[in-house]
């Protein structure tokens, strides 16, 4: 058997995808109240377009982007604006948010008359992405229209659809590939058209062969769409790793994929672009996976932006066992929650509940230089030395050992026999280095 495409380094955590991978996507209940942050993306926050007491319709734009690197936000329900106030988001940061009380009965989204997708120009597609408030839905939430505007001197020839879903437990992209194959391929081709690339490659991990087969049978009608199978390894779906695995190109440190003629977009984003272009649907809901040993009935849910975790858990039969970690996002990069109040945002790929029998909360010990973090690091950094420098406040050394190149996949901490939270130290180092550079 030929070796599957992959990158060097990385880890093989237990995936536990079977908890939810067989569950068809279903609608999550619309909560009584949604909390829609005016900043759900990397970039500038939006200015609210509504005020307290206003009526809002489903899909109505309620926050306008004030900068290029930003994305507007839309109401995910029909209802009444109850308040515009600062609310803690899933990271714990206070973000100005629009709180909307949902009408007891919610309308169906009415699709706009279809456009001829093949006839759309690159400029039009970017505008659609921008108006629909699209951001990267894999977790980073970078505004899509910005990604679709690569510098003129860096032409993009290859669009890569990140269909790895390499985070353990999560299965929502897998379900989308199975249930929305045609729309997804159409969305991917829109991305291709937006940057004038010559082909689209779907990178699918080998644990989703049914999805790969579905995509392949659809892609066979388009010569410009390829489907590649990748080794099941974390973080296969990391932008730089994925580009390398599929094309052999290496994005240099501190550079963007356009440097090597690539654009990477997540499955959910490609689909959202299709819905925005074909139906005029803004990004006000998304598919996410609610799963883990602490959830009674794991599921893949189509949930409105602004839905609190509590509503999702309830829709999945509630908690079971002794939950000790409630994670917004995947278990490798997601944010642990102190309670169930945080609201779904555009970048929320899942809610994972881990119980005491699977969580290993070891006490941080001294580094014993075993080198497992160095072997695991897909960026070929030295996590141990970054931590050592950070502990001593030697920020220049932390930078020398690669702190700024770290994308926080967490492979180092996963492997560390001394339970060192490298990612935490790296985040500190990044903030300190940035502060020093400002001076």
């Amino acid at each position: 058997m030929a070796e599957l495409k992959t990158f060097k380094g990385g880890i093989h955590p237990p995936y536990n995808k079977e908890l939810a991978s067989g569950k068809a996507i279903k609608e999550a209940p619309v909560p009584r109240e949604v909390v829609i942050p005016l900043q759900q993306h990397i970039g500038a926050p939006c200015e609210p377009l509504v005020s307290e007491g206003d009526r809002v319709e489903l899909g109505q734009k309620i926050g306008e982007a004030q900068a290029f690197v930003s994305a507007p936000v839309h109401s995910s329900v029909a209802g009444t604006v109850k308040a515009i106030t600062e609310v803690a988001n899933f990271t714990g940061a206070k973000v100005k948010s629009v709180v909307i009380e949902a009408d007891p009965s919610q309308p169906e989204f009415s699709k706009k008359p279809g456009k001829d997708l093949e006839a759309l120009t690159a400029e039009e597609i970017r505008e659609i992405a921008k108006e629909a408030g699209l951001v990267g839905m894999g977790g980073a939430a970078f505004p899509t229209h910005v990604k679709l505007s690569p510098p003129a001197d860096k032409p993009v020839d290859t669009v890569i659809i990140n269909a790895c879903e390499c985070e353990p437990f999560l299965t929502c992209d897998h379900r989308l590939m199975l249930e929305r194959t045609d729309d997804l391929v159409a969305g991917a081709r829109l991305l291709k058209a937006a940057v004038g690339a010559s082909k689209v490659i779907f990178g699918v991990e080998a644990n989703k062969m049914d999805a790969a087969d579905a995509l392949r049978s659809r892609a066979s009608s388009y010569p410009d769409v390829e489907v590649e199978i990748l080794e099941v390894k974390y973080p296969e779906g990391a932008e730089k790793m994925l580009i390398f695995a599929l094309t052999g190109r290496k994005v240099p440190p501190g550079k963007l994929p356009s440097e090597v003629g690539c654009l990477v977009q997540n499955v959910g984003t490609a689909l959202a672009l299709y819905e925005a272009a074909a139906w005029g649907k803004p990004l006000y809901e998304r598919v996410l996976t609610v799963t883990g040993p602490g959830v009674r009935e794991p599921a893949n849910l189509m949930a409105r932006i602004g839905t609190p975790i509590a509503t999702l858990i309830e829709a999945c039969g509630g908690f079971v066992g002794n939950p000790v970690k409630l994670i917004m996002g995947g278990p490798m990069t997601g944010w642990a929650q102190p309670d169930t109040s945080a609201a779904v945002v555009k970048g929320t790929s899942g809610v994972v509940v881990l119980t005491s029998d699977v969580v290993d909360l070891g006490e941080e010990g001294e580094c014993v230089r075993c080198g497992k973090c160095v072997d695991a690091c897909p960026m070929f950094l030295s996590p141990n030395f970054i931590v050592q420098a950070a502990k001593r406040g030697q920020w220049d050394k932390a930078e020398m050992w690669g702190a700024l190149d770290c994308f926080e996949c967490g492979c180092c901490s996963y492997e560390c026999p001394a339970y060192i939270p490298h990612v935490d130290y790296v985040r500190k180092a990044k903030a300190e280095i940035a502060a020093l550079k400002k001076k």
Binding site: K240, G318, P331, C370, S382, G402, E415
Partner: protein, 315 residues
């Protein structure tokens, strides 16, 4: 539903089964074959030495951590490993006070004062061993040992295998097979390097160590010995090369962290072992070589810093 137990920590929220304590336990398991062989060969002498070394190493670790008001880390097993390695390096017949001094130097000075847990520069067991070796002059008792020896010796005096080679002593030179399986004098661990290899294999299998350092050392010694007109196979089977290559040069804390650094580290140690053995003293070469290799580790870590993903080499 009670959610009182929710814990908020930074990601990742999954953890491999790797634990320092499990790795140390694996090292102890890997040392079992050679320790048992030593016990069979030297019976209560070996048992006494192991008990004194392990006991004192653990005591000193506990005491020094307490005194410095730091968390006592006995449970990770590293002190026990240091003690056992020290015992294995020493001859059967050695005054108990010597062992306690060696143990003190290993744990308190080499480990705790020269860097502290995880940052000590030198392999503690080797440091303690070399100190007592130079300091106490127990060489007088090096070749004689008590205990119930399997065949060939009168139980009082015997030359080490390397002394045979070095000094061209009269009498039957031990065969390769004997070096692999039997007891021919020296440290209590020199009772057949097959047992060391067995443990080394276990460490490789458990991924506690990787093959780079042991392979480089053994290959370097083997080849360089032949080049210098010595019996390369004999050189890697005799003395402490095997124990050093698998159990001491691979010590996480005191070996380089990157592959190419490990290769150079192995080369340094291998070359020094042969040079010392061929041109210098017939014993102690492995200990000296590894300690000198240890001193190069910070430099090797820096020189062989991995090139970042996508980093372009400056033209």
């Amino acid at each position: 539903m009670a959610l009182d137990n929710l814990v908020v920590t930074p990601p990742p929220h999954l953890k491999s089964k790797e634990q320092t304590a499990i790795a140390m336990r694996d090292v102890l398991i890997a040392l079992a074959p050679i320790s048992i062989a030593a016990l069979v060969a030297f019976t209560y002498n070996a048992l006494f030495n192991m008990a004194v070394c392990v006991g004192s190493a653990m005591f000193f670790e506990w005491a020094v951590r307490k005194m410095r008001k730091k968390k006592v880390t006995l449970s990770d097993g590293s002190a026990a490993v240091t003690g056992l390695l020290l015992a294995l390096l020493l001859p059967a017949k050695i005054h108990w006070l010597n062992m306690i001094i060696a143990s003190f130097v290993a744990v308190v000075i080499a480990k705790e004062l020269l860097g502290g847990l995880g940052r000590n520069l030198f392999n503690p067991a080797l440091f303690g061993f070399v100190f007592i070796w130079i300091g106490s002059g127990f060489l007088a008792s090096w070749t004689g040992h008590l205990g119930f020896l399997p065949g060939g010796f009168d139980g009082v005096q015997a030359a080490t295998p390397l002394a045979y080679l070095k000094q061209g002593l009269e009498g039957p030179v031990p065969s390769y097979a004997a070096l692999l399986f039997a007891n021919y004098g020296g440290a209590i661990s020199e009772v057949g390097c097959f047992w060391v290899l067995l443990g080394g294999g276990y460490l490789l299998y458990r991924k506690v160590i990787n093959w780079v350092i042991p392979t480089t050392i053994l290959a370097t010694v083997f080849i360089l010995a032949y080049i210098l007109g010595s019996d390369g196979l004999y050189q890697i089977l005799a003395g402490g090369v095997m124990l050093g290559a698998f159990f001491m040069a691979t010590d996480w804390v005191t070996s380089p962290i990157n592959r190419w650094g490990q290769v150079v580290f192995g080369l340094i140690i291998g070359i020094l072992i042969v040079l010392i053995r061929v041109y210098g003293a017939p014993s102690g070469a492995v200990a000296y070589s590894i300690l000198i290799g240890n001193a190069f580790v910070p430099l090797l870590d820096k020189v062989f810093k991995p090139k970042r993903f996508g980093e372009v080499v400056a033209a």
